[in-house]
Amino acid sequence: MDDKTNALREHVKGIFSNLELVLGWEPGYDPLHTRPFYVRTESDIDRLTANCLSFQNLTRYLAKSMNAVDPAADGRKIGVCVKGCDSRSLVALIQEKFVSRDRVYVIGLPCRGTLDARRIRALVPDPARIRSVNAEGDELVVETDRGISRFALDRAIARKCLQCRYPNPVIHDVLIGDPVTPRLKIDAENPSVAAVEALSLEDRLLFWENQLDRCIRCFACRNACPLCVCQNHCIMETRMPKWITQYRNMNEKFMFHMIHALHLAGRCTECGECERVCPVGIPVALIKEKINAIIYEMLDYESGIDPEAVPPLLTFSPKETGI
């Protein structure tokens, strides 16, 4: 995302009196990070930032950290900043009645990609010396204490952004900045999925075994996902029913990821948060992308587009099976 900090602050100043709080981002602990930020008072507004580092999907907090199920009694709303991908999560949450559309004021930010800190560290010889990073057009400008270097933006943004089909928020009350052109057409094949499918069956198994073997079941992926709403009632942690044990082996890890993916089937909006937060770099979103591709093909459904639609796996339609 191009830097929209000033425009965002201006806008929030203008409407803040009508809002309870605003979910946004502020600069983080190093030049490669921002962190989620709750604007609660007028004076907080000047800490807001919105740029290529605004990667967190803030809708997660709406469902998991606050009650947004019903509109507030006094009519005041929660402002929430969303990129294209985040907006789809919001739609999905509205569909599933975790968030009331009337409870939120949606600040939409068209986005050309957010950075992947891992990829930047791989690009820059001495990442510890980075002072700032900035997206300028198609370039990433990295300033270190040894000077400035420029890279093609595509070498630094997240995998999900390279195949983004919805860079513009699908729902918003205000749009900050001009809409941008999607990188992929809506019905385009998912290139990451295609790449894995090009592997032979044995190689594919090997690929996933290598990846999933690293999983330490820290559950960061689950916790970051805006749609993994079970929180501390997650099936991974209960012993009744006992679907999963603590044994450290491939079966259990595989089972965890399959359950996780199946719970997101027809719901995951491909925001990529699960993958971004994984401390061991497993492409976890890829599994869900594959399932989404199947759902799109079989049921002609894409999650998080139409707030009125009902996700196909959350309905019972006798017509589907002719029971």
Binding site: N67, V69, E96, K97, F98, V229, C230, Q231, H233, C234, I235, T238, M240, P241, K242, W243, H263, V310, L313, L314, T315, F316, P318, K319, G322, I323
Partner: protein
């Protein structure tokens, strides 16, 4: 837990390919098993006694029987263990017959499989809990949907048994298809003479409330306590006032209204009484043809009506009825002959459907019972009947046999020869299906006594020549092509599900097959029950059948209702879903998928949302359980842990 295992030999059904003794011996090694034995017929009286004796002598707390399908004998064994003092849900049945002995001949492999199946049942039983039913009061009123002969029979039987009946009929009159028939096979008695008195009975019985020209809008509740919203469609005539005198129909200037009762042969007036014997015999305005309702001018009927019954401002009205059971008798529709373009149905006026021919034959029909051609009113001499038009044809998605056409063609051919002795009747058929009592004799009478010419083979094409129709086809018995110049062609259009069958099933939460016929609970053993408790089936809505079978089913459904209502309360099945409130996150997904409306969301005092199962509505289908992300909702007696234990034991 102390578990006893009983391996049934089922004569040689199981023992033939499974070493039952070895299975019993192995079972003794399974955890908690303190007793195991094999027996010739476990379901027999001495077999059950053996179980009961073992329960007391070995102080058993749970029983596994490895035998046939639980569908067959689970209730038997549950009763047996209950008698011996243990909870009927502390019982498991492994199906080592249908799932094992019958499907393989390798004795050694079968024995191994049977051992595994018993092992799984033991593991499941170890996690079973005693379950208890609750009692709910029964509302002893019954709803009958559809007033064809099946529905009428069911309603009258229930009424005779002293039950209050609510009947909902979609059309302005009851009677269904049978009311349109002229004579009925195989006795050739007059249809309206045998149906008419029953229709009158429906009108006169004080404990039958008839809603004609009405449809079921919504159904909620469960066995013993259904709530039904009924939409009374606007007739524009106040039926409480209307005496059925018919003055209005004499004067109505709109005389081209579609005559549904006569299958579109001839026309009727916009305000009409469908037929002289209609029940209720009341006038209705067909709003598609009424000059006032379509053009704003006329109101002639309003002036004519001696009792001032016309209400142009009438609107649909919703009334609610409460009942304890429902009989569905919504009947059927007929295949649209236009699908076979080569026959010219709908294109040539003298290619008609068999139902239209019934109306032509009928004395109350459009031609007063004289057989005439619709095109020019001439009496036909050469008449061809074509069977299986929309039956037993995969290419039009009608692979099934309609079951009645062979018989009614023979009837119509006999009637034709009777009316016009110098006529020739030809029947083009695939094979003749006449399995009922006196049916084959009836067909023979048509062939031998009435000289109806039966030609085996399909008709390929029908086309006009002059004012006649050329029917081209094959005679596959003689192996020659045949060509008949006919005056009239009658197509035996097949039976298909009633137009609104699928949406009605969804309201009733019952299943239908791929062709829209309602599914009975078991094709042999529960033919009038559905899988939704308290909902029963009668007549063709369940599958093609003739009048005797429809009436039989109507009576059967009525007797099921009477059996149900002979008790004041009913026991609920405890194998239903149950929510662990501590785990439930209130996401509402279970509520969304439940096909029976058995779940509602509630808010606790701390503001958190939780799901709640209406135990009497829940049918134990398990969809909620499969959908719940964290498995907070579990199906009692089939919990995840029980199923996982069964699977896990296979890999231990």
């Amino acid at each position: 837990m102390r578990i006893g295992v009983f391996i049934c030999q089922c004569g040689t059904n199981i023992a033939g390919t499974v070493d039952t003794r070895a299975v019993a011996k192995k079972a003794m090694e399974f955890p908690d098993v303190v007793f195991a034995v094999d027996y010739m017929y476990t379901c027999s009286e001495p077999g059950q006694k053996e179980i009961q004796d073992a329960i007391s002598s070995h102080r058993l707390q749970g029983v596994v029987v490895a035998a046939c399908s639980p569908r067959m004998h689970e209730p038997t064994f549950r009763r047996a263990v209950k008698k011996a003092g243990i909870n009927p849900y502390m019982f498991e049945q492994a199906n080592i017959r249908e799932h094992c002995s019958w499907i393989g001949t390798d004795r050694e492999a079968n024995t191994r499989k049977a051992i595994d199946m018993v092992r799984m049942s033991v593991e499941k039983l170890r996690r079973n809990q005693a379950l208890f039913s609750t009692q709910v009061a029964v509302n002893k009123r019954v709803l009958v949907i559809g007033g064809g002969v099946a529905g009428i029979q069911a309603a009258l039987d229930c009424s005779d048994g002293g039950l209050e009946v609510v009947m909902v009929e979609r059309e302005p009159s009851i009677g269904g298809k049978m009311a349109k028939l002229d004579k009925t096979f195989p006795t050739i008695d007059c249809s309206s003479c045998i149906l008419g008195p029953k229709m009158v009975d429906v009108a006169q019985k004080e404990n039958i409330r008839l809603y004609a020209y009405s449809e079921v809008e919504a159904i909620s509740g469960y066995i013993g306590n259904f709530k039904v919203d009924i939409r009374k469609k606007a007739t524009y005539v106040d039926w409480n006032a209307c005496t059925g005198c018919g003055e209005c129909t004499q004067k109505c200037p709109s005389k081209k209204a579609f005559d549904h009762f006569n299958e579109g042969l001839g026309a009727t007036t916009a305000i009409n009484i469908p037929f002289p014997q209609a029940i209720p015999k009341k006038a209705r305005i067909d709003s598609d043809y009424c000059r006032y309702l379509t053009g704003g001018k006329c109101r002639v009927c309003e002036k004519i009506c001696p009792v001032k019954a016309i209400r142009f401002d009438m609107k649909d009205e919703i009334v609610t009825e409460e009942v304890g059971a429902i009989i569905v008798a919504s009947g059927y529709d007929l295949f649209d002959a236009r699908v076979y373009g080569e026959y010219g149905g709908g294109r040539y006026p003298d290619v008609i459907s068999a139902m239209q021919y019934e109306r032509i034959l009928s004395a109350s029909g459009p031609y007063g019972g004289h057989i005439r051609r619709p095109s020019d009113g001439r009496e036909p001499k050469e008449i061809v009947f074509i069977s299986c038009v929309g039956s037993r044809d995969i290419s039009v998605d009608r692979p099934y046999c309609s079951g009645i056409c062979c018989m009614y063609i023979a009837k119509q051919a006999i009637m034709t020869r009777d009316h016009i002795p110098d006529s020739n009747c030809y029947v083009s058929y695939m094979d003749i299906r006449a399995p009922g009592k006196g049916y084959d004799e009836f067909i023979r009478r048509a062939q031998e006594e009435y000289g109806v010419k039966y030609i085996r083979g399909r008709v390929g094409r029908i086309y006009p020549r002059g004012d006649r129709l050329v029917v081209q086809g094959a005679d596959t018995l003689l192996g020659v092509q045949v060509e008949i110049e006919a005056d009239l062609v009658v197509l035996a259009t097949g039976v298909e599900c009633s137009a609104g069958a699928r949406p009605l099933a969804e309201k009733l939460r019952i299943s239908y097959d791929q062709h829209g016929f309602y599914m009975e609970s078991h094709p042999k053993l529960r033919p009038v029950e559905t899988n939704t408790a308290g909902v029963f089936l009668a007549g063709v809505c369940q599958g093609p059948k003739d009048i005797p079978a429809s009436v039989g089913q109507g009576s059967a459904a009525a007797s099921k209702v009477q059996a149900l209502f002979s008790r004041d309360t009913i026991e609920t099945d405890p194998q239903v879903a149950h929510v662990n409130e501590n785990m439930c996150i209130g996401c509402g997904k279970c509520e969304q998928v439940c096909p029976f409306g058995a779940i509602r969301m509630k808010t606790l005092r701390d503001g958190s949302r939780k799901s709640e199962v209406l135990e009497t509505v829940c049918q134990g289908c398990g969809l909620c359980n499969a959908t719940c992300p964290n498995k907070a909702i579990q199906l009692r007696h089939s919990t995840d842990d029980q199923i996982l234990a069964e699977i896990n034991t296979l890999f231990d």
